[in-house]
Amino acid sequence: MPTVRIPTPLRNLSGGERTVTVPGSDLRAVVAGLEEAHPGFADRLLDEDGELRRFVNVFVRDEDVRFQEGLDTELAEDDTVSIVPAVAGG
């Protein structure tokens, strides 16, 4: 199952866990799986239109999913998904 890295601001939802494994063949399914295992994730990650929130960056295979297929980005069993707050740098 894909591994998801949880940033500090969201670890209150994951019971303090830094990483969780969630089934799913694409990012959308993994977000749904996160929500099922740890209610609250979908609201923090997705806006009212069901898209990734403005200040949430997600990286799959070390690449920003906005350069891939967004929530439809496909995931393999051993992929890592990193959730990173967007505002940093500069």
Binding site: F55, N57, D64, V84, P85, G90
Partner: protein, 438 residues
């Protein structure tokens, strides 16, 4: 390291703090009330953190404006140190202990008239804010000064950053001078001047196989796992405030007047938006009157996410994969990009972009007209000024300021091809005369 502590005989602009410490963190004595999310408005207590726990949006400092208003004045500023700490009343001061305050004489850089470049651009009045004159040759010394002072107030011992080069130079130097451990994360293929200019200070330099945005992402994850003070990650609310001093300096150096139009380079957009914030705050505190300036931004075409969003009315900034010689501006996913677009729109400014060839021409034009050798970001700014002039976006009578943010010796690769000896002669007068006769 030197400290900016003024003598007891004169006002101490930076010793703003008195009263009880805020809760939870190293006896902070501060003019910062709390941190607030720019997106949703949720607040958090003052701490080394940059992310809203509610929406992951950016946290910004909320000042004790009443405390500042009763202290700050033109006279106190004018009597202060010849560094950015003359505006200490207006910066996030987190400790009354002067030893936390870092000051390598950063800031209060020259604002000088540029008549020859003005004539080239068809302007009556052009000024250059020469931030090449900071300790490590760029405006990044400003933000690092404020961020490291915050870090020391928080009791952090290791300082770090994600950098396109200039920030790495500034962090490494300031860490050395304050005896802090440092880790600077840079793209592996930076200009040699910026690599050497970081490593020379003896801290850790981590070259990352990837572009700046990859470096930035790694830094965000390291910051989350190591508890270090990353100046532009978990110290970003304080760090960003350092750039307000450019705005305050422009006002003071113009005789407590606003410029009419400011043109600045855009990478993350943080400097640009904080200059605008300073203009607004200075008026709030009665330091200046009138209308705040037009704010215009400058990008390179090879990394122009903010300019692209500005051109597309109402669009949000979309990330790009940078490909430009203007490495110091090569941030494809700019943290304050949307805010920068909003500032340019609100103030009647514009945001442009120029090719790499124009960047080189801009560096040469600035050097040849005003004797100032800027790194690529300065070339971007000057080249955009040329474009703005051609497009009729400059007003001849406007008091215009160009922010020159970094020194040219950092990026000699960009212009080395066109900068060679003009003559090669033997060591005799006859040989020289012959060469002159050509």
């Amino acid at each position: 390291m030197t400290t900016s502590a003024p003598s007891p005989a004169r006002p101490g602009p930076t010793t703003t703090a008195s009263g009880p410490p805020t809760s939870g963190t190293h006896h902070l004595d501060t003019n910062v009330v709390e941190l607030a999310c720019r997106s949703c408005g949720a607040t958090q207590e003052v701490a080394p953190t940059h992310v809203c726990m509610q929406c992951l949006g950016p946290l910004e400092v909320v000042y004790d404006t009443e405390r500042i208003a009763v202290r700050v004045s033109r006279e106190r500023i004018a009597a202060g140190p010849h560094s950015l700490w003359r505006y200490g009343d207006l910066l996030p001061v987190l400790s009354a202990d002067d030893r936390t305050r870092v000051d390598l004489a950063t800031g209060f850089t020259p604002l000088r008239p540029a008549p020859r470049l003005a004539a080239h651009l068809g302007l009556d009045e052009l000024w250059l804010k020469d931030d090449t004159r900071n300790p490590t040759g760029s405006f990044k010394d400003r933000v690092v000064t404020v961020a490291l002072s915050a870090a020391r107030a928080f009791g952090l011992e290791t300082i770090a950053c994600a950098s396109t080069g200039n920030l790495a130079n500034a962090v490494a130097a300031h860490a050395a001078a304050t005896g802090m451990d440092s880790y600077v994360f840079i793209p592996h293929d930076l200009e040699s001047g910026k690599v050497v200019g970081s490593a020379i200070y003896g801290g850790n330099v981590v070259a990352v196989d990837g572009n700046y945005d990859a470096v930035n992402r790694l830094a965000a994850e390291v910051a989350d796992s190591h508890g270090w003070g990353f100046v532009n990650v978990n110290l970003r609310p304080f760090y960003a405030e350092g750039s307000t001093t450019i705005g305050y300096e422009l006002i003071e150096q113009l005789g407590w007047r606003y410029p009419d139009h400011v043109v600045a380079p855009l990478a993350s957009g943080a400097m640009f938006t904080r200059i605008d914030a300073a203009f607004d705050r200075a008026r709030t505190y009665g330091l200046v009157h009138g209308d705040t300036p037009r704010m215009s931004g400058a990008q390179a075409t090879g990394c122009s996410p903010i300019a692209t969003a500005f051109e597309a009315d109402g669009a949000r900034v979309r990330p790009q994969k940078p490909d430009t010689i203007a490495r110091s501006l090569a941030i494809g996913d700019p943290a304050d990009g949307d805010e920068a677009v909003a500032v340019a729109r609100r103030t009647g400014g514009t945001i442009g972009h120029v090719s790499d060839a124009e960047v080189v021409d801009g560096i040469r034009l600035l050097a040849a007209t005003e004797g100032l050798f800027a790194e690529t970001a300065g070339g971007v700014t000057v080249a955009n000024l040329v474009r703005f002039a051609e497009a009729g976006l400059l007003e001849r009578g406007e008091r215009t300021v160009a922010i020159i943010s970094g020194a040219g010796l950092k990026t000699i690769e960009a212009v080395a091809d066109g900068a060679h000896p003009t003559h090669r002669v033997g060591p005799s007068l006859d040989a020289f005369e012959a060469a002159l006769a050509g």
